[in-house]
């Protein structure tokens, strides 16, 4: 399978899986940094949820006039249970934090609010969606990966593992991959529509290689964010490169961007694919 092997060798951040009916899928692994940011966002969401619930509960108690009895009840509980109160508190905390991940990952197909914001999700290593058991295992082991709400163990394991897996992933047989691989590229609308009479431009377009086309397309898509001087120089440089293989373009070089727009449109029309 030359194509598959090449892909894996060229980019070690890619994982190729094959289903039983010979469907080949490629996934791009989520990086450690992206996962770290996703986790921070999830922690923010969790904190917000807990804070929100607490505020709502307190408000309800105030509105119903039961704030003082509730407070007294808590004090009595603390006095009677002492340090034993810590255990159920930790249990509730863990239930909320781990339950959040388990629930979201199971219901959202391996995603959580944080992961969704970073466009990543957890899958099984064979490419199938994450199961409930896998979600439970990978999130229970989060307790080992995380200490003091940061990832000391998880970070080391992810750093060592070539597929960026933490202990939970290794135990559950899961991977975290990037989704939304395909994004429609920006297609430029030229100020002047090229027509069949632009024989010179057509010649240049026909001589363009795939790298040329890709370069022109990327430049046109990103030109508005470039600083003016660099934009002008870059357009000229790309035009020089593209036109070097073809006939002289003479007066067209006075407005390189317009020329590149025409080239891109012509090339796209001429190479429209199945």
């Amino acid at each position: 399978m030359p194509c598959q092997e090449r892909a894996v060798k060229e980019n070690p951040q890619t994982v190729t899986t094959e289903t039983s009916d010979h469907m080949v899928h490629q996934f791009h692994l989520a990086g450690i940094g992206t996962r770290f940011i996703a986790y921070l966002i999830d922690k923010l969401v969790q904190t917000g949820m807990v804070l929100g619930l607490t505020i709502i509960t307190v408000l309800l108690l105030i509105l119903t006039g039961k704030l003082s009895p509730a407070g007294e009840c808590l004090v009595r509980l603390r006095d009677s249970l002492g340090w034993w109160l810590v255990a159920p508190t930790i249990a509730v905390y863990e239930l909320i934090t781990k339950g959040y991940f388990i629930l979201f990952e199971y219901l959202w197909n391996g995603s959580t609010p944080g992961k969704r914001s970073q466009e990543i999700r957890a899958i099984r290593k064979d490419g199938r969606p994450i199961s409930f058991v896998a979600a439970v295992i990978r999130n229970i082991l989060r307790a080992v990966d995380i200490l003091a709400e940061i990832y000391p163990v998880g970070l080391v394991v992810m750093f060592i593992d070539s597929r960026n897996r933490r202990l939970g992933d290794l135990a559950a047989g899961t991977l975290v991959v990037r989704e939304a691989e395909f994004k429609p590229p920006v297609i430029c609308t030229p100020l002047q529509e090229p027509n069949g009479a632009d024989a010179e431009i057509l010649n240049v377009a026909l001589e363009m290689t795939m790298e040329d086309y890709d370069l022109v397309r990327k430049f046109l898509a990103r030109r508005d964010s470039l600083d003016a001087d660099y934009r002008r120089d870059l357009a000229r440089q790309i035009l020089e490169r593209v036109s070097r293989r073809s006939v002289s373009i003479g007066e067209e070089s006075s407005n390189p961007e317009a020329f590149l727009e025409k080239l891109e449109t012509l090339c796209r029309r001429e190479t429209k694919e199945i």
Binding site: I32, Y151, D227
Partner: protein, 464 residues
């Protein structure tokens, strides 16, 4: 493009193949023009026909596919695709060169099909197409080669380790940082660790010499005072300057090494040090200039604070009301020093020094990026520094945990425990320093790609 969205697409189904030889040829052809369909897979797939090759072929390409398949000894059936399936919006894709998306398994057939050796392009006569009222297209010259059909979907700007240097998100910058640290860990560790090793070696040698000579702190009292003054004036500043220069050298070498590996080349520790040696003076002097500018900003903030103190004393009877302005005023030196944070990259990578380097760093961190939040380059840097801070704490914890365990296991030998703790803490500091250095170099290149099209410039020069 309106033209593309209104186009009629066709479904091409492979229904029959003459013999094994034809099957082999068809498999090879399909393998050649698809992104990730090896010939053996295509061959296997043809054991259970019919096989829908595509549901999104344009009229012209459907004709070509028919011709090619018939030429190879296969029978294909063409029919117009249902409109809801053919609308590019319905599948969230657009058909452009190099990104053809097929509904059926993983195939992205390209125009290469039309240029398959031995497969001429003939005028269209497909009855199924004409029945749909599609105008016959005259023979055309072979189109130019389409963009790459590889996994990445095009020619990638040169970046190391199969990574592109195109504009990255904040997560992407951190990902790239971890990737560089992982791939080149020992080289980067050696670059940053050398000054520490040299200092440790110097201390060790001095201790050994002192032990041999029998020199102790008490013996200092017997040394003539003029010797002590001469030593204080010459030796101590020299050692301090040498050590500072060494740390600058290591920092510069790290920037250069990361820059080189980020752009996809390999680096040797010696080369990195040699390269930076030539720019060391500029680097140190520009750093001194940065300190002066930061102090100037601090001075301005203090002067403003004093002025506001007297103003508030006149207005509110107590000058301490001006204390509410202290926090905003303290942001002035913070803002100034942060905006100049990329100066070292500018000096080492671009060989621009002194005020020009500071101005360049300021300019790079001015403006807004395209894409998602945060858009401002300065804010991006602040958030990146915050994330880096969190990761540094994590790295420090990684080394403090075992150190604490060792110290707890050996309560009687506290010296060993504290030495181990200090050693691991220093290693953690070095690794944190590497991570921070790499992160800022990647960020620097990201800004240049966004503002100056650095990646496109590299790409333009790459194949010339």
């Amino acid at each position: 493009m309106g033209e593309e969205t209104s186009e009629v697409f066709y479904t091409v189904i492979l229904t029959k193949i003459q013999d094994e030889e034809a099957k082999k040829k068809v498999a090879e052809t399909l393998s050649r023009v698809t992104t990730n369909l090896p010939a053996d897979k295509a061959f296997k797939r043809m054991e259970s026909l019919p096989w829908t090759l595509t549901r999104r072929a344009t009229a012209r390409n459907a004709e070509r596919l028919v011709r090619v398949m018939e030429k190879l000894g296969a029978t294909v059936q063409v029919s117009p695709s249902p409109s809801e399936a053919t609308s590019p919006e319905s599948v969230g894709t657009q058909v452009v060169p190099g990104t053809a998306v097929l509904q059926e398994p993983q195939a992205a057939v390209s125009d290469d099909l039309s240029r398959t050796p031995g497969v001429p392009i003939v005028p269209p006569t497909a009855s199924s197409l004409q029945a749909e009222g599609q105008p016959s297209t005259p023979p055309q010259p072979p189109p130019p080669a389409p963009p790459a059909l590889n996994v990445k979907g095009g020619s990638e700007p040169p970046g190391g380790d199969g990574f592109s240097i195109e504009p990255l998100s904040l997560g992407g910058i951190l990902d790239r940082t971890f990737q560089i640290c992982r791939r080149h860990f020992w080289k980067l560790f050696a670059i940053v660790g050398i000054p520490y090793l040299v200092v440790a070696a110097l201390v060790l040698i001095a201790s050994i010499v002192a032990a041999i000579v029998g020199f102790t702190l008490q013996a200092l009292g017997d040394v003539p005072i003029w010797v002590l003054i001469a030593a204080a004036v010459t030796l101590i500043p020299s050692i301090i300057v040498a050590i500072i220069a060494m740390f600058y050298l290591s920092q510069g070498a790290l920037i250069y090494a990361v820059s080189v590996v980020h752009l996809g080349r390999d680096i040797r520790v010696g080369d990195a040090y040699r390269f930076v040696l030539a720019r060391l003076v500029k680097f140190v002097l520009t750093s001194v200039l940065l300190v002066i500018v930061t102090f100037a900003a601090l001075l301005i903030a203090v002067l403003f604070g004093v002025v506001l103190f007297f103003i508030s004393r006149e207005v509110f009877s107590s000058g301490w009301w001006s204390a509410i302005t202290w926090i905003p005023l303290s942001l002035i030196p913070f803002y100034a020093s942060t905006k100049l944070l990329l100066f070292d990259k500018v000096v080492i990578i671009e060989d621009i020094a002194y005020t020009n380097a500071l101005k360049r760093s300021w300019d790079l961190l001015t403006g807004k990026a395209d894409g998602g939040w945060p858009r401002g380059y300065f804010l991006r840097l602040i958030i990146l520094l915050f994330l880096f801070g969190l990761i540094s704490v994590t790295i420090a914890l990684v080394f403090q945990m075992p150190a604490s365990i060792i110290a707890a296991l050996m309560p009687e030998s506290w010296i060993v425990g504290s030495v181990v703790q200090q050693l691991l803490s220093n290693i953690g500091g070095v690794i944190g320093g590497i991570f921070g250095g790499v992160c800022l170099v990647v960020f620097y290149y990201d800004i240049r790609s966004r503002k100056e099209g650095f990646d496109l410039k590299m790409l333009a020069q790459q194949h010339e």
